[in-house]
Symmetry: C2
Subunit: 71 residues, 2 copies
């Protein structure tokens, strides 16, 4: 799942990703995710906003997960 | 950190929380989080939007983390 998500968006923390994505690519991601996840147990939650300015980001502590460069 | 965050917002998945919070309460949460976290290693990322309608939520798979009721 991590590998799949990283194909489309940026991994920012644990199981959290962030990024710009087209509707077509998002549908592709959701369809692939739905295929590999256990829908009884797992979930993927998407928060979408059409304008980047509508979403403000605040970071406390360490900004970037170093593992991102390693894995 | 889980316990602290759950005092203010709802736990929706792993280390992800969601909720409405006033600016005053958010400052309180960030200040308490800053005190207990290891700022060299940990991070807390906040995505804020002023209007709920600016943020669309889509869920694939299991909607609610059952653990929320247990812990």
């Amino acid at each position: 799942m991590l590998k799949l998500c990283r194909k489309y968006v940026n991994w920012i923390q644990n199981s959290v990703f962030e990024g710009e994505i087209t509707e077509v690519k998002l549908k592709e991601l959701l369809s692939e995710a739905g295929r590999i996840m256990n829908k009884e147990k797992d979930s993927m939650i998407i928060f979408k906003t059409r304008q980047e300015k509508w979403l403000e980001k605040v970071v406390v502590g360490k900004e970037k997960n170093e593992l991102d460069n390693v894995i």
